[in-house]
């Protein structure tokens, strides 16, 4: 991805290692098409892939989860920057 750190983070609509559904640029449509929040993650199943802007070592960059296939990954969500815990 050429653009650096612009736009919103989006699930690709596919799990890692698989192509996103045809004609679907991002996960938003797929995700909200049915008008409900879909939880697709479970242990023993493939991780939902995503592409999202990030800050990494002084640069703005894009992170794609499937680029990390072949490595162990710890994906760590937290409520917000500048919080206390």
């Amino acid at each position: 991805m050429a653009e650096k750190g612009v736009g919103c983070g989006r699930p690709t609509g596919a799990v890692v290692g698989e192509k996103a559904p045809e004609g679907d640029a991002g996960g938003k449509e797929t995700h909200e098409r049915e008008g409900k929040t879909m939880v697709t993650v479970k242990v023993g199943g493939k991780a939902p892939d995503f592409e999202a802007p990030a800050y990494y070592k002084g640069e703005f960059t894009m992170v794609k989860l499937s680029d990390h296939l072949g490595k162990w990954v710890i994906l760590c969500f937290y409520p917000g920057d500048f919080t206390f815990v």
């Binding site: 479970k42 995503f50 990494y56 162990w72 710890i74 920057d81 500048f82």
Partner: protein, 147 residues
């Protein structure tokens, strides 16, 4: 996040990539890292800090809270095939313990190395006995393992 960054070299030795995610923009991540976290951890945060503005990633992982508009503390261990091996979720007021993530990664890596022939009993730490599931172990776990 500084607690994770503090143990980063250990994760690197285990071949683990870390990715942190919150709904803050990458610009806010930069200021938080540069102004505060870099004063807690030498060199600042050594892994990508992803922006999930809109909570789309959080929704896909089931950690986004619509009421407060933020992601809960969700931690996922993903193996080299992209399979989620472990997840842990906490509400915001309580922080995680990084050592437990390291222990779980070591346990899952051991299972993977043995191609599933060995299983890791409760509280397993490296160097402690593992279990080799099979007909001869049924009813005999007490012989090889105690809490």
């Amino acid at each position: 996040m500084s607690a994770v960054a503090d143990k980063y070299s250990e994760f690197q030795e285990l071949g683990v990539d870390i990715i942190s995610v919150s709904v803050d923009s990458q610009f806010v991540h930069k200021v938080w890292n540069d102004e505060e976290l870099s004063k807690m951890v030498e060199g600042g945060i050594p892994f990508p800090m992803v922006s999930d503005a809109g909570g789309h990633l959080g929704r896909a992982y089931g950690v986004y809270d619509e009421a407060s508009g933020v992601n809960f503390r969700g931690r996922f261990i993903i193996d080299p095939d992209g399979v989620v091996q472990a997840m842990e979720m906490l509400t915001p007021p309580v922080g995680r313990k990084v050592e437990e993530s390291i222990r779980q990664v070591k346990a899952f890596q051991h299972v993977r190395k043995t191609k599933g022939a060995e299983a890791m009993p409760s509280g397993w730490e490296p160097g402690k006995p593992t279990l080799k599931p099979g007909p001869e172990l049924v009813g005999k776990v007490w012989k090889v393992w105690k809490p």
